[in-house]
Symmetry: C2
Subunit: 411 residues, 2 copies
């Protein structure tokens, strides 16, 4: 029998599953403070729902069910667009969704066929306040996760589109955007060479001269205004609303997506790539029969998990703070009662489920990284106390359950 998870998919064993849950819980708390609410949709959609947005390239990646009528979602935006187009929500409708999506791609390091997305989107407002709120909420979430020196990059599809029109390369826009999107990975030089092949040396020079505007935000805005007054003014408004520095990067493309206005990306600090990205996509909902304004930002859950794990020396193996050990099997019920009191005081506590001797119970605590053991024997029961042992130092002290709760709360 095949004993593994399907090709390109992963089991999240407790240490990883805990890391992912902690990331998502922190992000969820941040988003809720902004008034975003959860929405959840089935893993499957009708194929025609998926096809409406997919495009040929992504359609090939859909996991199709046997009857051919249903497929697994490849992102969380399609179901959002379907639901938003078929329900009357108070506007703006602000929802978050954290869930797995599936794409049939060749598995690579760090790329899986099942992966999680964490999206927030705002439906129903054309104001740049949305973009500012999405950036603030993601920035708060990432800060709560411990990221520092975040770098926010901003551009606009309106500027890129206007430039394509100006250079008369609209018919090659897709190839051009695709190349620009590769700069981070392939490097400026290589992309410039390929760009010359696509649009010719003269236009490539003009393109990079326009996009490569150096200098401070003000200088770049001035350059951007020459390409698209409207697009640049929108960026200016977003920058004026955000309480952190934002860099204008006219080479930012954000894939081949459906973006129509501002696009943005958050980088996780020195040497760390993009950990969040999004933009405005006002045309998508129309595909589902009810046009409306829309903007969203998506966090790279996998990338964030990897970074956090690298930062922490060791992943947590448990949430448990104390093992309530019984000196003899007949004290097990007493150990259960002490554990119940600890739990009622908010302290995660375990007891010995295997009928092991005290030494073996210590071994279990050590194996799981449970730092404290509360020992329950004859004397402890008589004195209504526990012997609290710090497994790191080996020190023990006799203490009441109430005091043990106070002590364990601190660590």
């Amino acid at each position: 029998m095949t004993k593994t998870a399907p090709k390109g998919m992963r089991d999240m064993l407790p240490e990883d599953a805990m890391a992912r849950r902690e990331v998502l819980e922190t992000v969820e708390q941040a988003y809720r403070r902004y008034g975003f609410v959860p929405m959840e949709t089935p893993a499957m959609e009708y194929m025609d729902t998926l096809r409406a947005k997919a495009g040929a390239e992504i359609e090939k990646q859909i996991f199709v069910l046997k009857d051919g009528e249903l497929g697994l979602r490849f992102d969380l935006t399609v179901p959002l667009a379907r639901v938003a187009a078929n329900n009357a929500f108070a506007k703006p409708f602000k929802r978050y969704a954290f869930a797995p999506v599936w794409r049939y791609e060749e598995p690579q390091r760090g790329r899986f066929r099942e992966f999680w997305q964490a999206d927030v989107d705002i439906i129903g407002s054309k104001s740049m306040r949305c973009e500012a709120e999405l950036l603030c909420a993601a920035y708060d979430a990432l800060t709560a996760l411990g990221f520092r020196d975040l770098k926010v990059l901003l551009n606009s599809r309106k500027i890129l589109d206007a430039l394509a029109t100006k250079l008369d390369i609209e018919n090659k826009k897709e190839a051009v955007f695709r190349l620009l999107d590769k700069i981070d990975k392939a490097g400026q030089e290589k992309v410039r060479a390929e760009m010359e092949e696509v649009i010719g040396a003269q236009k490539a020079r003009e393109l990079f001269a326009a996009l490569g505007a150096k200098g401070d935000a003000k200088g770049r805005l001035t350059a951007a205004k020459k390409i698209s007054e409207e697009g640049a003014k929108e960026l200016e408004e977003i920058i004026s609303l955000c309480p952190f520095g934002i860099e204008i990067d006219l080479e930012l493309v954000r894939g081949l997506g459906y973006y129509t206005g501002p696009i943005f990306e958050i980088k996780g600090g020195e040497g760390i790539g993009s950990i969040a990205g999004g933009g405005r996509y006002d045309n998508l909902l129309g595909l589902y029969g009810q046009p409306d304004y829309a903007a969203g930002i998506s966090l790279g859950v996998e990338r964030i998990m990897t970074l956090i794990k690298e930062r922490k020396a060791e992943a947590k193996k448990t949430y448990t703070k104390v093992l309530v050990a019984n000196v003899k099997p007949e004290f097990y019920r007493n150990a259960m009662e002490i554990a119940a009191q600890l739990r009622a005081g908010g302290i995660a506590a375990e007891t010995d489920l295997n009928g092991r001797n005290l030494r073996k119970q210590f071994d279990y605590a050590n194996a799981l990284g449970i730092r404290y053991v509360a020992i329950i024997g004859e004397r402890e029961i008589k004195e209504k106390k526990v012997t609290l042992r710090d497994m790191e130092s080996g020190k023990e002290k006799s203490i009441s359950v109430e005091d043990a709760i106070k002590e364990l709360e601190k660590c």
Copy 2:
């Protein structure tokens, strides 16, 4: 274009999604206090992994992917068994998993093709302490969800199996168990009549006489001991370890599952059916190549959500406590800053993303059930205060942000 979720599946709009998240968060907190850790596996498994446990009936219900090699999981126990058989965890291995599963069944009221399971299981101990812990943890979780008058029912497959041997009906055991399992829905009388057809009138009488032992726990245990001394002693141990009343119900079967020892069910109080169930399944892991002891309990997430929604007059539409409204658009940035201060103080706060006038901002708060509006105008900015309006009473007061946080924390 099809505008709905696939047949038999549901969109969880914010009110429902929030209810489900709140149920699962509460349960997760309770389980963590017992030292259970999360484990997550892909939605898909290889078909031979699924088939190892499925049986003909469930195999028909598997959502198969187009290539025929993969299928969507129909429960969370199969992936657990596969992973546990292929990883060396410290024992006991105690994990929880909350996730959707898929079954291709004819949709009915309250039965869906995608539904959530919330499982906790303990791998690697044959002690009845596991059963006691599973019942205690589920009892705590349900109590934290607000359930009172919970009723815990207990039986053992060892008793049912011994009785089948004693009555010499082992070859009809499946049909007999299936019938017993129907008692709650079809009633005693109907099941008795059908039982007579299956095993004859004489044996049916003996069966129901043995199972129908009335009286208190002690009396039933005595009756059970006559059938299986070992099975009954195990139940006795579980009862002695649990700090709540447990009823022995010898007619309890828990489906056609793979149970090998104690089985149990928790009912949600007067007139409410089963909301949790489980048991010991020591033979399952052997199917995946590495035999081990195992026991688990599963919460009925959908049933619990329905009950909680019925209990609450109205479902929450938001987590937001206050809308920070701007009197004029030029005060929006100030409103954002006040909102940021409120959020830093743990208060979920929204601002106006659409550029609406004050009246319309009030309407939005009312539509979402946001009770408080903090108004920001010229005077408020100058005085470094906000005007906090209670939308229910219409009363307003001028107050500092710090005091607003204190006030809003209370409600």
